[in-house]
């Protein structure tokens, strides 16, 4: 088996105004088949992708926010959210939906996938990757 690489998907756009957020999610799901070390970063308007209570009935676009909760089943379990980006938008972790995964190394205990990091930690995360894919 070939070497496992670290992939980071960087999400910086709000969900419905452009196609970036949905495209990112689709690429993440497709990429999950390749069993790489995948992380997702949410910063700037990208943090809006994870908010609770999205309801798109009135705009005729599929509400894809529940799909983030399925990522754990694809072994995508690291969703890094930038604290400064939340702060700038008046959001806290409570405004985001809960995303969890079952840790196979810890008796399938349910654990949170969302990890809030500060801007310096986000920069470190970006610098630690083999491949960065931006959306």
């Amino acid at each position: 088996m070939s070497e496992i690489k670290k992939f980071l998907y960087v999400n910086r756009k709000a969900p419905y105004g452009t196609i970036y957020a949905l495209e990112s999610l689709e690429v993440v799901l497709i990429g999950a088949a390749f069993e790489q070390d995948v992380s997702l970063a949410f910063l700037d308007d990208g943090v809006f992708q994870l908010t609770k209570g999205q309801s798109t009935d009135g705009i005729g676009i599929k509400n894809f926010s529940p799909t983030y909760r399925a990522l754990g089943d694809y072994e995508v379990t690291k969703l890094y959210v930038e604290q400064e980006s939340l702060d700038e938008r008046g959001l806290t972790l409570d405004d985001l939906q809960a995303v969890v995964y079952e840790d196979e190394d810890d008796d399938w205990e349910e654990k949170p996938s969302i990890r809030v990091v500060n801007r310096a930690e986000m920069a470190d995360l970006m610098a630690d990757q083999d491949v960065v894919l931006s959306f």
Binding site: R12, D44, R119, V132, S134
Partner: protein
């Protein structure tokens, strides 16, 4: 281990350049392309932000894009270098990863 960051949007239209500069590390490079080249101008609202970084981060503009938009070399901030397409390729090859700020 360093990163080449590309920015392709005007800093007056999006926060991409500001976010890029807030996340890049010492020793990284930032290449302004397409409308991103407006970020290289002197005398703008973002000029100080960019100028502050020129000590720790190498900042480039893609000359074809700056020339296309009529940005004379003397209008660019001190320390910003122009590169041609071959130079763009060299920058990609010389860094460990490329990150696009869309």
């Amino acid at each position: 281990m360093s990163t080449l960051h590309t920015v392709n949007k005007s800093p007056f239209a999006t926060g991409s350049l500001a976010s890029c500069l807030a996340h890049c590390k010492d020793g990284d490079a930032v290449l302004m392309i397409e409308d991103g080249v407006y970020g290289g101008l002197s005398g703008t609202a973002v000029a100080d932000l960019v100028q502050q970084k020129t000590g720790s981060v190498a900042i480039y503009v893609l000359s074809a894009d700056s020339e296309a938009r009529g940005l004379a070399a003397e209008k660019l901030l001190q320390g910003i270098k122009g590169v041609d397409y071959d130079g763009f390729v060299d920058l990609v090859a010389d860094h460990d990863r490329t990150q696009s700020w869309l």
